[in-house]
Protein backbone atom coordinates (compact mmCIF):
# COMPACT_ATOMS: atom_id res chain seq x y z
CA UNK A 1 0.00 0.00 0.00
CA UNK A 2 1.29 3.41 -0.87
CA UNK A 3 1.62 6.23 1.63
CA UNK A 4 -1.11 8.09 -0.17
CA UNK A 5 -3.39 5.09 0.23
CA UNK A 6 -2.80 5.07 3.99
CA UNK A 7 -3.45 8.79 4.18
CA UNK A 8 -6.78 8.35 2.46
CA UNK A 9 -7.71 5.61 4.91
CA UNK A 10 -7.03 7.73 8.00
CA UNK A 11 -8.89 10.65 6.51
CA UNK A 12 -11.79 8.40 5.81
CA UNK A 13 -12.01 6.74 9.21
CA UNK A 14 -12.15 10.19 10.80
CA UNK A 15 -14.95 11.07 8.46
CA UNK A 16 -16.81 7.92 9.30
CA UNK A 17 -17.14 9.00 12.92
CA UNK A 18 -19.36 11.79 11.71
CA UNK A 19 -21.74 10.07 9.31
CA UNK A 20 -22.86 6.61 8.31
CA UNK A 21 -23.94 5.16 4.98
CA UNK A 22 -26.79 2.81 4.09
CA UNK A 23 -26.89 0.11 1.39
CA UNK A 24 -27.47 0.51 -2.31
CA UNK A 25 -25.33 3.51 -3.20
CA UNK A 26 -23.10 3.45 -6.26
CA UNK A 27 -20.55 5.89 -7.60
CA UNK A 28 -19.44 5.41 -11.18
CA UNK A 29 -16.53 7.17 -12.83
CA UNK A 30 -14.80 6.80 -16.19
CA UNK A 31 -11.11 7.58 -15.77
CA UNK A 32 -8.95 8.69 -18.66
CA UNK A 33 -5.34 7.99 -19.49
CA UNK A 34 -4.03 10.78 -17.29
CA UNK A 35 -6.08 9.68 -14.28
CA UNK A 36 -8.55 12.44 -15.15
CA UNK A 37 -12.27 11.86 -14.58
CA UNK A 38 -14.01 11.84 -17.95
CA UNK A 39 -17.50 11.12 -16.65
CA UNK A 40 -18.99 10.72 -13.18
CA UNK A 41 -22.38 9.70 -11.93
CA UNK A 42 -23.71 8.47 -8.64
CA UNK A 43 -26.74 6.34 -8.02
CA UNK A 44 -28.38 6.64 -4.65
CA UNK A 45 -31.44 4.95 -3.24
CA UNK A 46 -34.19 7.55 -3.04
CA UNK A 47 -33.92 7.76 0.73
CA UNK A 48 -30.46 9.20 0.43
CA UNK A 49 -31.05 11.33 -2.65
CA UNK A 50 -31.52 14.54 -0.70
CA UNK A 51 -28.71 14.03 1.74
CA UNK A 52 -26.99 17.41 2.26
CA UNK A 53 -23.70 15.66 2.86
CA UNK A 54 -23.75 14.39 -0.74
CA UNK A 55 -21.16 16.94 -1.86
CA UNK A 56 -18.69 15.70 0.77
CA UNK A 57 -19.34 12.14 -0.26
CA UNK A 58 -18.47 13.07 -3.81
CA UNK A 59 -15.04 14.35 -2.84
CA UNK A 60 -14.50 11.24 -0.81
CA UNK A 61 -15.62 8.98 -3.61
CA UNK A 62 -13.17 10.66 -5.92
CA UNK A 63 -10.38 10.00 -3.40
CA UNK A 64 -11.27 6.36 -3.08
CA UNK A 65 -11.59 5.82 -6.82
CA UNK A 66 -8.30 7.56 -7.43
CA UNK A 67 -6.57 5.50 -4.78
CA UNK A 68 -7.74 2.28 -6.38
CA UNK A 69 -6.32 3.13 -9.81
CA UNK A 70 -2.94 1.62 -8.93
CA UNK A 71 -4.59 -1.69 -8.17
CA UNK A 72 -6.65 -1.52 -11.35
CA UNK A 73 -3.52 -0.94 -13.38
CA UNK A 74 -1.82 -3.92 -11.76
CA UNK A 75 -4.74 -6.28 -12.14
CA UNK A 76 -5.56 -5.49 -15.74
CA UNK A 77 -2.47 -7.37 -16.86
CA UNK A 78 -3.41 -10.53 -14.97
CA UNK A 79 -6.57 -11.35 -16.93
CA UNK A 80 -7.92 -11.44 -20.46
CA UNK A 81 -11.29 -10.10 -19.39
CA UNK A 82 -12.20 -6.46 -19.48
CA UNK A 83 -14.25 -6.87 -16.30
CA UNK A 84 -11.94 -7.00 -13.28
CA UNK A 85 -14.55 -7.71 -10.61
CA UNK A 86 -13.55 -6.34 -7.25
CA UNK A 87 -10.11 -4.78 -7.12
CA UNK A 88 -10.13 -2.96 -3.80
CA UNK A 89 -12.02 -2.54 -0.57
CA UNK A 90 -12.10 0.63 1.47
CA UNK A 91 -13.80 0.22 4.85
CA UNK A 92 -17.34 -0.55 3.71
CA UNK A 93 -16.85 0.58 0.09
CA UNK A 94 -16.07 -2.02 -2.55
CA UNK A 95 -14.32 -0.98 -5.72
CA UNK A 96 -14.99 -2.85 -8.98
CA UNK A 97 -13.37 -2.03 -12.26
CA UNK A 98 -13.64 -2.59 -15.99
CA UNK A 99 -10.88 -1.71 -18.43
CA UNK A 100 -11.70 -1.10 -22.08
CA UNK A 101 -9.54 -1.96 -25.05
CA UNK A 102 -8.32 1.63 -25.23
CA UNK A 103 -7.42 1.60 -21.53
CA UNK A 104 -10.29 3.74 -20.37
CA UNK A 105 -10.98 2.62 -16.82
CA UNK A 106 -14.51 2.32 -15.56
CA UNK A 107 -14.46 2.38 -11.75
CA UNK A 108 -17.48 1.61 -9.60
CA UNK A 109 -17.68 2.27 -5.87
CA UNK A 110 -20.44 0.36 -4.17
CA UNK A 111 -21.37 -0.62 -0.67
CA UNK A 112 -23.21 -3.82 -1.44
CA UNK A 113 -22.08 -6.78 -3.52
CA UNK A 114 -23.88 -6.85 -6.85
CA UNK A 115 -21.50 -8.58 -9.21
CA UNK A 116 -24.03 -9.45 -11.89
CA UNK A 117 -25.68 -6.07 -11.91
CA UNK A 118 -22.38 -4.25 -12.07
CA UNK A 119 -21.03 -6.55 -14.78
CA UNK A 120 -24.10 -5.94 -16.96
CA UNK A 121 -23.95 -2.24 -16.25
CA UNK A 122 -20.31 -2.09 -17.34
CA UNK A 123 -21.06 -4.00 -20.54
CA UNK A 124 -23.86 -1.67 -21.53
CA UNK A 125 -21.87 1.44 -20.65
CA UNK A 126 -18.97 0.07 -22.68
CA UNK A 127 -21.17 -0.16 -25.76
CA UNK A 128 -22.57 3.29 -25.12
CA UNK A 129 -19.07 4.65 -24.66
CA UNK A 130 -17.84 3.10 -27.90
CA UNK A 131 -20.75 4.61 -29.83
CA UNK A 132 -20.09 7.96 -28.24
CA UNK A 133 -16.40 7.88 -29.09
CA UNK A 134 -17.27 7.30 -32.75
CA UNK A 135 -18.52 10.88 -32.79
CA UNK A 136 -15.87 12.77 -34.78
CA UNK A 137 -16.29 15.82 -32.57
CA UNK A 138 -15.44 13.97 -29.34
CA UNK A 139 -11.79 13.93 -28.37
CA UNK A 140 -10.74 10.94 -26.30
CA UNK A 141 -9.85 11.72 -22.68
CA UNK A 142 -11.92 14.90 -22.66
CA UNK A 143 -14.95 15.17 -20.36
CA UNK A 144 -18.12 13.68 -21.81
CA UNK A 145 -20.78 16.36 -21.90
CA UNK A 146 -23.40 14.72 -24.10
CA UNK A 147 -26.92 14.74 -22.66
CA UNK A 148 -27.67 11.61 -24.65
CA UNK A 149 -24.82 9.73 -22.96
CA UNK A 150 -25.93 10.88 -19.51
CA UNK A 151 -29.44 9.71 -20.16
CA UNK A 152 -28.24 6.27 -21.20
CA UNK A 153 -26.02 5.90 -18.13
CA UNK A 154 -28.90 6.92 -15.89
CA UNK A 155 -31.17 4.44 -17.60
CA UNK A 156 -28.75 1.53 -17.24
CA UNK A 157 -27.96 2.54 -13.68
CA UNK A 158 -31.61 2.37 -12.78
CA UNK A 159 -31.98 -0.90 -14.62
CA UNK A 160 -29.00 -2.81 -13.25
CA UNK A 161 -27.97 -1.08 -10.06
CA UNK A 162 -30.74 0.43 -8.06
CA UNK A 163 -33.67 -1.91 -8.72
Amino acid sequence: MTAVHILYKTFYSLYRLICSMSGGSYYFVIVGHHDNPVFEMDFMPSAKANDPKREDHRHLNQFIAHASLDLVDEQMWTTNNMYLKMVDKFNEWFVSAFVTASRMRFVMLHDEKNEDGIKNFFQEIYETYVKHSMNPFYEINTPIKSANFERKVQFYGRKYLTT
Binding site: K131, H132, M134, N135, P136, F137, Y138, K145, S146, N148
Partner: protein
Protein backbone atom coordinates in the same frame (compact mmCIF):
# COMPACT_ATOMS: atom_id res chain seq x y z
CA UNK B 1 -17.85 11.65 -75.26
CA UNK B 2 -18.00 7.91 -75.63
CA UNK B 3 -19.77 5.81 -73.05
CA UNK B 4 -18.00 2.82 -71.62
CA UNK B 5 -19.91 -0.45 -71.32
CA UNK B 6 -21.04 -0.93 -67.76
CA UNK B 7 -18.19 -2.42 -65.83
CA UNK B 8 -18.81 -4.76 -62.90
CA UNK B 9 -19.23 -3.08 -59.51
CA UNK B 10 -15.94 -2.03 -58.02
CA UNK B 11 -14.52 -4.94 -56.05
CA UNK B 12 -12.39 -2.67 -53.89
CA UNK B 13 -15.22 -1.71 -51.59
CA UNK B 14 -14.51 0.48 -48.61
CA UNK B 15 -16.18 -0.22 -45.30
CA UNK B 16 -19.08 2.13 -44.67
CA UNK B 17 -17.79 2.90 -41.20
CA UNK B 18 -14.42 3.93 -42.58
CA UNK B 19 -16.18 6.29 -44.94
CA UNK B 20 -18.24 7.79 -42.12
CA UNK B 21 -15.18 8.14 -39.89
CA UNK B 22 -13.15 9.74 -42.69
CA UNK B 23 -15.81 12.31 -43.39
CA UNK B 24 -16.21 12.95 -39.68
CA UNK B 25 -12.49 13.52 -39.27
CA UNK B 26 -12.57 15.93 -42.21
CA UNK B 27 -15.40 17.99 -40.75
CA UNK B 28 -13.95 18.10 -37.25
CA UNK B 29 -10.58 19.21 -38.61
CA UNK B 30 -12.26 21.91 -40.69
CA UNK B 31 -14.06 23.05 -37.58
CA UNK B 32 -10.78 23.31 -35.69
CA UNK B 33 -9.15 25.22 -38.54
CA UNK B 34 -11.93 27.69 -39.31
CA UNK B 35 -13.82 27.85 -35.98
CA UNK B 36 -16.64 29.78 -37.67
CA UNK B 37 -19.63 27.62 -38.68
CA UNK B 38 -20.41 29.61 -41.83
CA UNK B 39 -16.86 29.28 -43.12
CA UNK B 40 -16.92 25.55 -42.55
CA UNK B 41 -20.23 25.30 -44.39
CA UNK B 42 -18.76 27.19 -47.33
CA UNK B 43 -15.72 24.93 -47.41
CA UNK B 44 -17.85 21.81 -47.26
CA UNK B 45 -19.89 23.05 -50.19
CA UNK B 46 -16.75 23.76 -52.18
CA UNK B 47 -15.45 20.29 -51.40
CA UNK B 48 -18.81 18.85 -52.46
CA UNK B 49 -18.74 20.88 -55.66
CA UNK B 50 -15.32 19.52 -56.58
CA UNK B 51 -16.49 16.00 -55.89
CA UNK B 52 -19.67 16.55 -57.90
CA UNK B 53 -18.02 17.76 -61.07
CA UNK B 54 -15.86 14.65 -61.13
CA UNK B 55 -18.40 12.15 -59.88
CA UNK B 56 -20.82 12.97 -62.67
CA UNK B 57 -18.50 11.39 -65.24
CA UNK B 58 -18.23 8.22 -63.23
CA UNK B 59 -21.97 8.19 -62.72
CA UNK B 60 -22.85 8.60 -66.38
CA UNK B 61 -20.34 5.94 -67.38
CA UNK B 62 -21.61 3.38 -64.90
CA UNK B 63 -25.31 3.97 -65.05
CA UNK B 64 -25.91 4.40 -68.78
CA UNK B 65 -28.85 6.72 -68.30
CA UNK B 66 -30.03 8.73 -71.25
CA UNK B 67 -30.74 12.44 -71.33
CA UNK B 68 -33.64 13.37 -69.06
CA UNK B 69 -36.62 15.02 -70.73
CA UNK B 70 -37.73 17.14 -67.83
CA UNK B 71 -36.81 18.12 -64.32
CA UNK B 72 -38.99 15.42 -62.77
CA UNK B 73 -37.02 12.73 -64.55
CA UNK B 74 -33.84 14.37 -63.31
CA UNK B 75 -35.15 14.20 -59.74
CA UNK B 76 -35.96 10.52 -60.10
CA UNK B 77 -32.58 9.68 -61.56
CA UNK B 78 -30.83 11.57 -58.79
CA UNK B 79 -32.73 9.82 -56.04
CA UNK B 80 -33.06 6.30 -57.39
CA UNK B 81 -29.82 5.84 -59.30
CA UNK B 82 -27.23 8.41 -58.23
CA UNK B 83 -27.76 8.34 -54.47
CA UNK B 84 -28.14 4.58 -54.60
CA UNK B 85 -24.87 4.18 -56.49
CA UNK B 86 -22.75 6.44 -54.32
CA UNK B 87 -24.27 6.28 -50.86
CA UNK B 88 -26.46 3.21 -50.96
CA UNK B 89 -29.61 5.11 -49.96
CA UNK B 90 -32.72 6.15 -51.89
CA UNK B 91 -34.08 9.44 -50.63
CA UNK B 92 -37.74 10.20 -51.30
CA UNK B 93 -38.61 12.91 -53.81
CA UNK B 94 -41.41 15.09 -52.46
CA UNK B 95 -42.71 18.62 -52.03
CA UNK B 96 -42.76 19.62 -55.65
CA UNK B 97 -43.40 23.32 -56.08
CA UNK B 98 -46.45 24.22 -58.22
CA UNK B 99 -44.22 25.37 -61.06
CA UNK B 100 -42.35 22.06 -61.02
CA UNK B 101 -38.96 23.66 -60.58
CA UNK B 102 -38.26 22.83 -56.94
CA UNK B 103 -38.33 19.55 -55.09
CA UNK B 104 -37.15 18.04 -51.83
CA UNK B 105 -35.04 14.99 -51.18
CA UNK B 106 -35.81 13.39 -47.82
CA UNK B 107 -32.99 11.32 -46.39
CA UNK B 108 -33.74 9.15 -43.39
CA UNK B 109 -30.54 7.28 -42.67
CA UNK B 110 -27.67 9.35 -43.86
CA UNK B 111 -24.44 7.31 -43.86
CA UNK B 112 -22.41 10.47 -43.36
CA UNK B 113 -23.95 11.17 -39.98
CA UNK B 114 -23.77 7.78 -38.24
CA UNK B 115 -22.81 8.29 -34.57
CA UNK B 116 -22.44 12.04 -35.03
CA UNK B 117 -23.67 14.56 -32.47
CA UNK B 118 -23.13 18.23 -33.16
CA UNK B 119 -20.92 19.81 -30.49
CA UNK B 120 -22.15 22.63 -28.26
CA UNK B 121 -22.14 26.08 -29.76
CA UNK B 122 -22.01 24.91 -33.35
CA UNK B 123 -25.68 24.85 -34.17
CA UNK B 124 -25.31 26.49 -37.55
CA UNK B 125 -23.02 23.81 -38.87
CA UNK B 126 -24.58 22.04 -41.86
CA UNK B 127 -22.82 18.73 -41.49
CA UNK B 128 -24.19 17.25 -44.71
CA UNK B 129 -23.78 20.25 -46.94
CA UNK B 130 -21.13 18.42 -48.91
CA UNK B 131 -24.13 16.71 -50.53
CA UNK B 132 -25.48 20.10 -51.57
CA UNK B 133 -22.21 21.03 -53.20
CA UNK B 134 -21.92 17.68 -54.93
CA UNK B 135 -25.40 17.91 -56.42
CA UNK B 136 -24.79 21.44 -57.60
CA UNK B 137 -21.47 20.51 -59.21
CA UNK B 138 -22.74 17.38 -60.86
CA UNK B 139 -25.81 19.04 -62.34
CA UNK B 140 -23.76 21.97 -63.57
CA UNK B 141 -21.73 19.56 -65.65
CA UNK B 142 -24.89 18.44 -67.40
CA UNK B 143 -25.91 22.01 -68.13
CA UNK B 144 -28.38 22.49 -65.29
CA UNK B 145 -27.83 25.26 -62.82
CA UNK B 146 -29.49 24.47 -59.50
CA UNK B 147 -29.44 25.75 -55.98
CA UNK B 148 -29.38 23.15 -53.20
CA UNK B 149 -30.02 23.92 -49.55
CA UNK B 150 -30.50 21.92 -46.38
CA UNK B 151 -33.86 22.81 -44.87
CA UNK B 152 -34.16 20.08 -42.25
CA UNK B 153 -31.31 18.31 -40.48
CA UNK B 154 -31.48 15.18 -38.34
CA UNK B 155 -28.47 16.35 -36.36
CA UNK B 156 -30.37 19.44 -35.32
CA UNK B 157 -33.38 17.52 -34.03
CA UNK B 158 -35.58 17.09 -37.10
CA UNK B 159 -36.91 13.68 -38.14
CA UNK B 160 -35.38 13.65 -41.59
CA UNK B 161 -32.66 15.46 -43.45
CA UNK B 162 -34.26 17.45 -46.24
CA UNK B 163 -32.38 18.85 -49.24
CA UNK B 164 -34.28 21.43 -51.25
CA UNK B 165 -33.26 21.50 -54.93
CA UNK B 166 -34.28 24.52 -56.99
CA UNK B 167 -33.84 24.75 -60.73
CA UNK B 168 -32.37 28.10 -61.78
CA UNK B 169 -31.60 27.88 -65.46
CA UNK B 170 -30.31 25.78 -68.28
CA UNK B 171 -26.68 26.48 -69.13
CA UNK B 172 -25.73 26.91 -72.77
CA UNK B 173 -22.37 25.58 -73.86
CA UNK B 174 -20.14 28.61 -74.24
CA UNK B 175 -17.84 28.55 -77.26
CA UNK B 176 -14.31 29.40 -76.11
CA UNK B 177 -13.26 32.90 -77.10
CA UNK B 178 -11.38 33.05 -80.37
CA UNK B 179 -13.17 30.14 -82.04
CA UNK B 180 -15.94 30.34 -84.58
Amino acid sequence: MSRQTARPTDSRKVSAELFTLTYGALVSQLLKDYENDDDVNKQLEKIGYNIGIRAIEDFLARSNVTRCNDFRETADVISKIAFKMFLGISPAVTNWSPAGDEFSLLIENNPLTDFVELPEGHNKLNYSCVLCGALKGALEMVQLEVDVKIVQDQLKGDNVTELRVKFIKRLEDAIPAGED
